[in-house]
Amino acid sequence: MDGMRGRWASIVEDPGGTSLVGLLLAAAIAVPILNQLVPASSAFHVSTYLLTLIGKYLCYAMLAMAVDLVWGYCGILSLGHAAFFTLGGYAMGMYLMRQIGARGVYGNPVLPDFMVFLNWDKLPWFWYGFNHFGFAMLMVVLVPALLALVFGWLAFRSRVTGVYLSIMTQALSYAMMLAFFRNDMGFGGNNGFTDFKDLLGFDLHKDSTRVVLFVATAVALAAAYRACRAITASRAGRVIRAIRDAESRTRFLGYRVESYKLWTFVFSAVLAGIAGALYVPQVGIINPSEFAPINSIEVVIWVAVGGRGTLIGAVAGAVLVNYAKTFFTGALPEVWLYALGAMFVLTTLFLPRGIMGLIPRASNAR
């Protein structure tokens, strides 16, 4: 099968993905119109609150896709993906903090407020460069990638697998949370970063900026989907799935299992970091509690509910579960944890392939 035909075939054989990308692009066009041009009195008007909420869901969907790539396709259950997400978010947050400039409470043109509050007289070295958007975006990609690379290299090389790996990733995320809670780390302690003013000169509180962020998120998610799809539909993707199903056999067949796992893991961490970077300007805050192990585990349940091993399932699961969360925490706050807990139990017991498992064609296409 030559390259052209293979690419063509992957699009043709992926009607779900095509409709997902189509849906995302349609949303990227329609939602801004419904927000900006349709009057607020109309039933079709999309409020900025709703727009930001959907944007948040799309960030979560991207994170879920990252987890699905390593868990659903490669069999690595990461309970620490929130760490990569949060690191990306912090990198974006650092840029946004530098953008505040002299408009902070203390009016210091260089130092963010919390550093003035801690009586620091100069910027720590790791804050250099974050006033440039390009550098910050590079860090959004590089920092999670580097952490994933080091951790993954150590873990996969010594063949830490299965549950052990899950617990290690969880411990990693937990250690990061403890570290970022410390004021001395230079990341704002338990308050984290907030009170952002603008991004690339655009006021973050303006509706138009939020619309642009929404469009960027939708497009990024569509691109992420295409990238993941390209990986999973490729030859490497088949090796990755082989590792999930029979790691030792794949190794004995001569594939370098560790490398495949490592690069999948790193790519997934980068996706999570980008999702975090898109998330922060939309919600307007980032703090160490985002590292909490429960967040990582929640992502896993989004994927499980949607159907692991299907990228569309991850997106659907993230949106559905988060919509349920928004609904329950608003209407019946006490019930939410019961519902989430029940979701964990029932999906694993009765829906091992998630919602996508209910659709016969999608499950065959695995």
Partner: protein
């Protein structure tokens, strides 16, 4: 009939007459005591001092209580009948105070604070009262009371106090009290001018490595603002410097022992939390993320048991241990039968499902007990400190946790090694098919194993309720640490869990002074992550056929 009634009346009259006339003849000690108390109401501060001396000289058994109450601002009189009372607390801001009869020391009801007038003291009076109370205590037959009195006097030792100690030193027989008095005498000798006596005092004090002694000796080495020494005598300075450095060395040593003990007690908590997990995870290969919540159930059981028997806090802990074992064990069996048994061989799914259960359990206790932390009282026999030497104090609750962990560990080890259930558990975990062929009901063994592990978690919860807040998040904060301990020690190995937990506790406490508690913990976590890279199966890996199935 009438005669008899009249006769009885006569007897009563006579009796009453006798009873009434007695006090008039001679005042009983109690009467005199109450009379002196009455005088306190109106007396000037100088007169109060006189009355205090009189009370002491009377050797009345309650004089001590009354004088210490006066010292603590707990002596009041009631405006309505001028009766003097001791109050249980000193709080003048409270709306009402609980009263105690000064003669019988029995409860005498309570009274609104407005209706009471405090019998006041001034500094001079308090000083002499303190000496008076100490003098009283020094004569107490109980050496513990005498020791406490001397310790109290050492806090602010003045000339009269030193004189009192000197007087007491001649008659004291208890070695502990005598040693304490010697410290006091040596400290007061430092203030003197006689150089040989001061040198002797310094060399005596050098063997007592306590903060107070060190501070007093260090004062001798201070300099005036103009650079000259406060202490003019060079030989005294040299002796003091030597003594201070000797004390510092001793304190460092004791500090090391203390850190080791803190590490052991923290390690015990980790072991307690992890050992149930070592069974469910290690022996059965089941990842139970709800393990922390089973501990939480144990802690809440302790709370419920205490509220059921508020009069017997001391015994409630002993009742709570089996109760928590049963509650958590039962929850574990239900969990195993209803969920986990469908997921054997799928560890990642088990992890997710049990995580869901943990969320439900957390919300359940929030619904029942609200989200607020619950107060679990520490029984009297578990509070307080054990003083070993001058510089080493060990709190009883930490000590008991260490002992308790050892007992639980020993019992668990015995159950696994010596009982039929233990034999079956080991058989099923090593080779399920073969065990079934031998007639072992493996399903029943699974449920019992899980129940055992969960029950131990409940017992750990009882211990945790004595150390931390009992709230819905209690379990979450321990789950990662517990997994770390099991993974570090080596899955399927109880000894590994013990050694892993203890060494993690000690390393944590060793790092704490240099890195702070949080950073120390981060170091330990990162070190563990690195450790697992080089030994993926922990400190004590399982060997043989069972290891293959993991």
């Amino acid at each position: 009939m009438r005669w008899r009634a009249a006769g009885r009346q006569l007897v009563w009259l006579l009796l009453a007459a006798v009873l009434c006339s007695t006090p008039a003849l001679a005042q009983t000690p109690d009467e005199a005591f109450l009379a002196s108390l009455g005088e306190l109401r109106e007396a000037s501060f100088a007169d109060k001092e006189q009355i205090a001396v009189r009370l002491i000289d009377s050797r009345h058994p309650r004089a001590h209580d009354v004088l210490s109450a006066l010292l603590d601002d707990r002596l009041y009189f009631r405006a309505s009948d001028m009766a003097v009372f001791i109050t249980k607390t000193a709080g003048e801001n409270a709306a009402s105070l609980e009263l105690v009869d000064p003669l019988t020391l029995k409860d005498a009801g309570s009274s609104p604070t407005d209706a009471l007038t405090k019998i006041g003291t001034n500094n001079r009076l308090r000083r002499s009262l303190r000496i008076a109370v100490a003098r009283f205590d020094l004569a107490n037959p109980d050496p513990g009371v005498r020791l406490a009195a001397v310790t109290e006097m050492l806090r602010s030792l003045d000339e009269s106090g030193a004189a009192l100690l000197k007087e007491r030193a001649g008659v004291e027989t208890d070695p502990g009290v005598k040693a304490e008095i010697d410290i006091g005498l040596a400290l007061s000798a430092l203030d003197g001018t006689d150089t040989p006596a001061r040198l002797a005092a310094i060399s005596a004090l050098a063997g007592r490595p306590r903060q107070q002694v060190r501070n007093r000796l260090a004062l001798l080495l201070d300099k005036n603002p103009d650079g000259t020494y406060v202490e003019p005598d060079e030989s005294v300075r040299a002796a003091a410097a030597a003594a201070v450095s000797r004390i510092d060395r001793a304190r460092t040593l004791y500090g090391g022992v203390e850190t080791l003990f803190f590490g052991l007690s923290l390690g015990s908590v980790l072991v307690l939390a992890a050992i149930g997990l070592a069974i469910t995870f290690g022996v059965m290969g089941v990842i139970n993320m709800a393990h922390g919540e089973l501990m939480m159930l144990g802690a809440y059981t302790t709370y419920v048991v205490q509220t059921l028997m508020p009069q017997h806090i001391g015994a409630s802990i002993l009742v709570a241990i089996p109760a928590a074992f049963l509650v958590a064990g039962l929850a574990g069996v239900i969990l195993e039968r209803s969920i986990i048994r469908f997921l054997y061989g799928r560890p990642l799914e088990t992890l997710l499902a049990t995580f869901g259960v943990s969320l439900v359990l957390q919300q359940l206790v929030r619904s029942i007990f609200t989200a607020n932390n619950r107060d679990v009282e520490t029984p009297a026999w578990m509070s307080g400190t054990l003083q070993l030497g001058d510089a080493l104090a060990i709190t009883y609750n930490r000590l008991y946790i260490v002992i308790f962990t050892m007992i639980v560990f020993a019992i668990l080890l015995a159950v696994l090694r010596r009982t039929k259930l233990g034999l079956e558990i080991r058989a099923v975990s090593q080779n399920r098919a073969m065990a079934r062929a031998m007639g072992i009901r493996s399903e029943w063994v699974d449920a019992m194993t899980f129940g055992l592990g969960s029950g131990i978690a409940g017992v750990a919860g009882v211990a945790l309720s004595q150390l931390t807040n009992v709230g819905p998040n209690l379990g979450q904060s321990y789950i990662i640490d517990s997994f770390m301990v099991v993974v570090f020690g080596g899955v399927g190995n109880l000894w590994g869990t013990l050694i892993g937990g203890m060494s993690m506790g000690i390393v944590n406490k060793l790092l704490e002074p240099y890195a702070g508690a949080v950073l120390g913990k981060i170091f330990v976590l990162v070190a563990l992550i690195l450790f697992i890279q080089s030994r993926p199966r922990g400190l004590f890996p399982q060997t043989g056929r069972a290891a293959e199935n993991q």
